[in-house]
Amino acid sequence: MALIISGIGVSRGIAIGNVHLLNRGAPEVFERKLEEHEVDSEIERFVSAVDEAAEQLRGIRDTIPEDAPKDVATFIDSHLLMVKDSMLSKVPIEIIQEEHCNAEWALKQQRDKLEAVFEQMEDDYLSTRLNDVEHVINLIQQILKDQQYTMQMKLQPLKGSIIVADDLTPADTVVMQNQNIAGFITELGGPLSHTAILARSLGIPAVVGIQSARSLLKQEEQLIIEGGSGMVLAGMDENTIKHYRHIQREQKDAQRKLGSLKNISAKTKDGQRISLQANIELSEDISALKKSGADGVGLYRTEFLYIDRETPADEAEQLNAYKKIIRVLKGKPLTIRTLDLGAEKEFDPDFQGPMTQNPALGLRAIRRSLKDTDLFKQQLRAILRASASGPVRILLPMITSHNELTQSLSLLDLAKQELTEEHKEFDADIPVGGMIEVPAAALSANILAKQLDFLSIGTNDLIQYTLAIDRIDDQVNYLYDPLHPSVLKLINLTLQAGRRADIPVAMCGEMAGDPRYTRLLLGLGLQEFSAHPSNLLEIKQIINKSKISDLEKQTKKILSTTVPSKIAPMVDALNQ
């Protein structure tokens, strides 16, 4: 009988393989009293277990793939230092000598002592580092229990199997990559855990957060995991397996084909060069950016510099963050969106205000920045200073009125003036753009375009505001429709305004990254798409097979269609 379990998909792709249950928690430890003459050999046994643990960690360190995040090596280095630390390598020896107990018991006592210290720590992040200490202690315990124990898991051929474990250490993940495992499932962990990040960078399909995975799944049982959606399938019939093998093959073929597009530029069959830019946020996106062959970054979200941290980044830290991306881009432009905080994403209690019923309509994005001009100017200064190192553009979120634009531009002038006085370098002609994500802005795009160097359509908010639909409200989200005639009209108006003012118009919402809409947008005249790096190659593939002149007539027809339900089939027809 088929069993479907769902967890958190953290690394895309389909894996089909047999379960290999990994039980590598702490082995149970018992106390044994030693005779006087046994003490020395027990100490020797402990010392060689510690040496073996260090040896194994060093071995794994040497096999870390070059493109793995730098953190992985540092992580394993820190485990290595712990193994050799006197608190783990010497103190248990003293305990063996004093108490005449076995090595396992001595190590356990030291572990309990360390645990008590960590538990008293007030800082949550630091106190959870006990996990690292435990990974190391467990490794020594495993070796004490079984001299043949090895992290390399060489004894079992793991090739093609799906590892099911409570949690995995970074070292485990590296080992698995070398053994060509098909995928893994863990009980703990989330999308940002170290192991999840590593799985993505190594391209191993993975699902985490399936709480009782090890009791639900049986050793050697055949499984299918769908790492994108987080679905795990067990006990399926032959046909299902065949079906998934087919999808797996197709995905691999498509991936290979897309990969070959990386170094080709996006150009329609009638010769129009299209700029494909990336939306990025966290440093993890940088490796995806490198693989995407993007023409630049069309949207760099900066909220991470302000929220989910103790204090907002200061000017120097921001500057560093921006320069890091500029280095990766090697001369391609970086578009930095200024702070887009809102009532629901806020770090400063002074701005949290009354819990408004309608955060989307509240004090957010540019409105908030203009209320806290010190903070805003600090960001503008950091962006300006970054522009001395490479091409940078400023993107202002949620512009609604001409007034907001004028205020922002004069603040920018002030920042420039300050930097000039301080003899700090910046690009005096830094391009400034505005997000078009409010219907009011789209309707007066021609006026905004006069003061701006470029426009960027943020479709997610534009659709939400135009149709008055909160996408996270389950009762109405079915009404969210990128193809609603009013949405298309506003997009068209914005594109026209850009052409009249002779400034570029980009699109950086989800619509730009959805291959279903690529041809429609080309037909409307969009020449700059900005999407998550992982979508860019697929979009490029469509662009390079399209001819704008063939699309224009049909898109005109779509624009004049007033019945929403007729539009979707017309858009799909463009893709035939």
Binding site: L81, M82, D85, M87, D123, L126, R129
Partner: protein
Amino acid sequence: MITKELTVANKLGLHARAAAKLVAMASNFASEISIQKGERKVNGKSIMGVMMLAASKNTVVNVNIEGEDEQQAMAEIEKLFTNLFDEEE
């Protein structure tokens, strides 16, 4: 002997990876290096010691160094603190 007050300024404090960098750096020098937070004083060459200081962001620690290469050691350690332990944000 030289002593200096340094502030832990990186986001996550002296956690495993930052502690590892500090200890690896300290171990390059012959001098005795200790790090003190309040009453607790630990060996700057022991990762467990440094982690157990539980020095979170904005903690001020006293770094004491004694030995032939103390100047150079202090300069390098200070650099590590100012560079936020080269942490990726």
